[in-house]
Symmetry: D2
Subunit: 343 residues, 4 copies
Amino acid sequence: MIVVMRPDATQAQVDHVTNLVREMGLKDHPIVGTDLTVVAVIGDERKVDGDVLERAPGVNKVMRVLAPYKMAARTDHTETTRVTIGEGDGCVFGGTQVPVIAGPCSVEGEQEILAAAEAVKAAGAHALRGGAFKPRTNPYAFQGHGEDGLKMLAAARDATGLPIVTEVLTPSDVELVSKYADCLQIGTRNSQNFKLLEACGKQSKPVLMKRGMSMTLDEYLQAAEYILAAGNGNVILCERGIRTFEDHTRNTLSLSVVPELHERTHLPIVIDPSHGTGKAHLVPAMSKAAMACGCDGLAIEMHIDPEHALTDGAQSITPAVLSDLMEDLARVAVAVDRTCVPG
Amino acid sequence: MIVVMRPDATQAQVDHVTNLVREMGLKDHPIVGTDLTVVAVIGDERKVDGDVLERAPGVNKVMRVLAPYKMAARTDHTETTRVTIGEGDGCVFGGTQVPVIAGPCSVEGEQEILAAAEAVKAAGAHALRGGAFKPRTNPYAFQGHGEDGLKMLAAARDATGLPIVTEVLTPSDVELVSKYADCLQIGTRNSQNFKLLEACGKQSKPVLMKRGMSMTLDEYLQAAEYILAAGNGNVILCERGIRTFEDHTRNTLSLSVVPELHERTHLPIVIDPSHGTGKAHLVPAMSKAAMACGCDGLAIEMHIDPEHALTDGAQSITPAVLSDLMEDLARVAVAVDRTCVPG
Amino acid sequence: MIVVMRPDATQAQVDHVTNLVREMGLKDHPIVGTDLTVVAVIGDERKVDGDVLERAPGVNKVMRVLAPYKMAARTDHTETTRVTIGEGDGCVFGGTQVPVIAGPCSVEGEQEILAAAEAVKAAGAHALRGGAFKPRTNPYAFQGHGEDGLKMLAAARDATGLPIVTEVLTPSDVELVSKYADCLQIGTRNSQNFKLLEACGKQSKPVLMKRGMSMTLDEYLQAAEYILAAGNGNVILCERGIRTFEDHTRNTLSLSVVPELHERTHLPIVIDPSHGTGKAHLVPAMSKAAMACGCDGLAIEMHIDPEHALTDGAQSITPAVLSDLMEDLARVAVAVDRTCVPG
Amino acid sequence: MIVVMRPDATQAQVDHVTNLVREMGLKDHPIVGTDLTVVAVIGDERKVDGDVLERAPGVNKVMRVLAPYKMAARTDHTETTRVTIGEGDGCVFGGTQVPVIAGPCSVEGEQEILAAAEAVKAAGAHALRGGAFKPRTNPYAFQGHGEDGLKMLAAARDATGLPIVTEVLTPSDVELVSKYADCLQIGTRNSQNFKLLEACGKQSKPVLMKRGMSMTLDEYLQAAEYILAAGNGNVILCERGIRTFEDHTRNTLSLSVVPELHERTHLPIVIDPSHGTGKAHLVPAMSKAAMACGCDGLAIEMHIDPEHALTDGAQSITPAVLSDLMEDLARVAVAVDRTCVPG
């Protein structure tokens, strides 16, 4: 931590800061510059609320030096973690192979999810997604089939062999969802629902954890740390677009997080181009871009009849588009020394 | 809902859209313009996922016409709702009087919260805030005293007569928190935790509901609608700053929401200048600005010794600053035909 | 400047950084912490491109310590600069009195601008605004009357005694505009048109300089420094809203810049609630908020017949609304120890 | 244009709106819905300031239906425009081949730019970039060598055969710069400097026009329309990152604009991953992503000795990295049915 004093700070103000630093159990190291003094603070700044020094008289600003997360950091863990979804090794995130999770936004019915699973399988994708518990912005919108939806997903898995990824909304549902799902998904609106993060950390199924739509990477990795610190190391990160001023997409898909997260963390990173754009016609191009910049997986919304989807039809591609896309992704994967072959 | 066709859309594509509209149970009304055709859709667009029409061939975009919330709308409810916190009428939001909620970010101990409550009372503010359950970005940071903290708050209420406002983080804590608190607070990170919104809607204590840091007003009022629709009409809205590119504050305090929310909803609106700036030195000016543009209340972080606060010290003002601020607020209130006098 | 090394940086990498620092003519001061090493850099970091150190091997990040502007800083100039527009002292920005600039977006004709000037005068405002050269997003929209518009403005000044503020778009027009105007306005889209800033700095009329819609305060004050460094100290800052994700206004009016700019700079700060919201119905409330948080002036769009305005009618208030607003502003001004009385 | 009335609007208010519409020379078409009335407006809404209707009594909002640009639209111009830089056809944007523009941020000296040009050529890139006139946020920073810099660029072109791209800052320099350059660049800070756009439209050299850092695509294409409407059809669009809350990059590179611009406009689109991230280590991955999603060219900052660059060293890659990247780009290009071979 570096405390930058104001140019007009007095010695007494600098002394007051060094005293506060010592009270925190840290070491101070003041440096007198040509224009102003800074106080370098030595020790683990993560354990204290150092921002409080900002309000001490004569202080201009406080700058953090250390990454605020530990277990998620690549520092002591240089290999990318491999997270396997389901039994067997058909769907491993973090290796050379880049799996694709596909399926509808929500589980609409037994026949619908089965047909979707078969289309996902036929296209060559590796896992099935579908929501049984749906977080809806509008309280009057379809909220999902709950446990019945989980059972339908399980039946679709039995029929196709595809592992299933589905969202959990609240701590009290974690046990139920983890009974059926091969991977629990935490949505963007729950990205700082710390009680839910902890609950997912206390069970053993892998967790696909979406980035909050206005989260910095430091905040994102601290949220992942909640799951890791609770005991579950099988965390897959997922970028799904951020909120900006742009209006040609529903969200802005920030692909630079892929190479940057690979620098900062050992956790694999998946891209969701469906929520990341909100527009079906942009999904193929952005999927290929994600592959080219090094993502470890993709999560794509596909619906067997998007115009009649109950949710997210606008961003869902058809089985035919998915099928073509899987072929294109296989080609791009090879061009960047990865593979994307049927599971 | 208005479906805008592309300039090159065919008649068959327009017909396909009108068929989809009819399948939704709505009426279509196509209008042929000089450059393109639009299909006006008549009926309650809130019950359907109209965005799906965006992916029909020949469609350029879909524009919503109706507000997506009903119970929160001012339309059928022209008076501002008055929400009373605590017993008696010392602290009513939505009337001429503008109450101020003040207190520390977190309940740090029995003595600390009692001293804070006495300072709040002495300054002339109207309610006490303090967190017993703390949502923390960093998993290693202080997470609050839990039920013990609630008991300390209740003791401070008994000693001062100030009603208490405190945060609830997860549905399973709602019953516990509502046993002690006079008003439940839902934080910005839980603003779309729909299970928590519903749980707060099913109990009877008033709810102070913060806007999510990247929520539009339409999304915000839909979230409020979750509480209203669950049966609790005592909702107080609270703007606490949004996430933007600005770096001179922790958040950007968007005060224009005050007059705009007064247009759209009958719910009272409180401003939190502490989180809204993240800097103690900006709190007095922004509190006065909030009063001048018509807010129905203020929520201000005050700590008896901010430099030693466990949380949010950087944005907490001292009792002396609060005391001066209350005098200043009283003057501004009068200038805009409101009052802000001790409860 | 503080160079933060990576936790795994080698001594050779630290040495390489210190060598680069010395080549820049600065002094290095490495500090070995518990987790990593930082290199404090002593000397004037403003003269070098220190960011380049970010790409040296083993470096994590570079953090600036000094404000990047000098002449605009309050440090050596503790009094707020008073900038007078026009002859006499009826319109001084930076003192106790808070002047209001009002008028139409564009000068539409001789009669229109005269009528507007008279309405501005009658309402008790202090200066007349109106655009003769209009920057228009759409190339087919009305672009202003040019020099004829300037002459109409001058005639309105002669008739009412109100000083006039008008925009200049390009360096080659600066001489012409400064011949007629009492104050030159630089618009948000030209806030980093450095050639225009310099040209305005080389003439002597005061400059009202709008903040860019996505500028940080550091960038803004550096832009102001271009004018100051070119020789013109009469700079008035003007916040007109920033671009964010919000959709209930055209821009987000960030009022916290008022107290923060007062900390950082000696230049007076004016608020433009018309562009800052884009909605006429929000202008009165936001004007009062601006007054309450300490602005040194207001710039408000008023049109004698907004429904027929050629430009910006949606955000222009009527003469009657301005008249009421001036009375309200006078009351709020007194409540914060300022005045806002007719010039 | 669609005018949405408030649910409580009276018939007189609807009539007032239809009258205003007729005064604008447009046709009105009111539609009475179940909850409210909308007035569809038929005719060319681009010629009027329809937003003014927002302030008519009883109006809730106004929604535009038509794209605000014409010449830039793909509607009447379905083939992507091919823009050739320099003589011969070695560097054509908009075809199957995807050219790469590379070089330093600024022309630092005769030897430096020559060495850079040779490195660019050796790596297999297609054009040389370098700034002679530099827009600098800080007034005290290096501003470029001006005409001398242009001469150095021309000498580097003579030595290598590479066409040159360089920035122009102000209308009065357009003639000078176009005398030397093969392509004029308009920077992000000048993206709405309409006088400069017009001046570039009145000369015949191709224009590489960067998107403003907070511009929507509609605003961007209107700015391009200024150049097209002034007579110059050789416009290349260039995305260079937008301003958002993200802090791990200097800007957020929004790659979804590539497929979306291909839908909306016939102009070719180039990606600048250097400014788009501000970090050299992210440039290779983002270049490949840009290629994969269909860009028509790349603009990359390369410096022969980035640690000693006068400007933008943090985001400049070395010749060795460029050389490897060109090989990688060639592979990705093939995977998406494009080519990227030496010019």
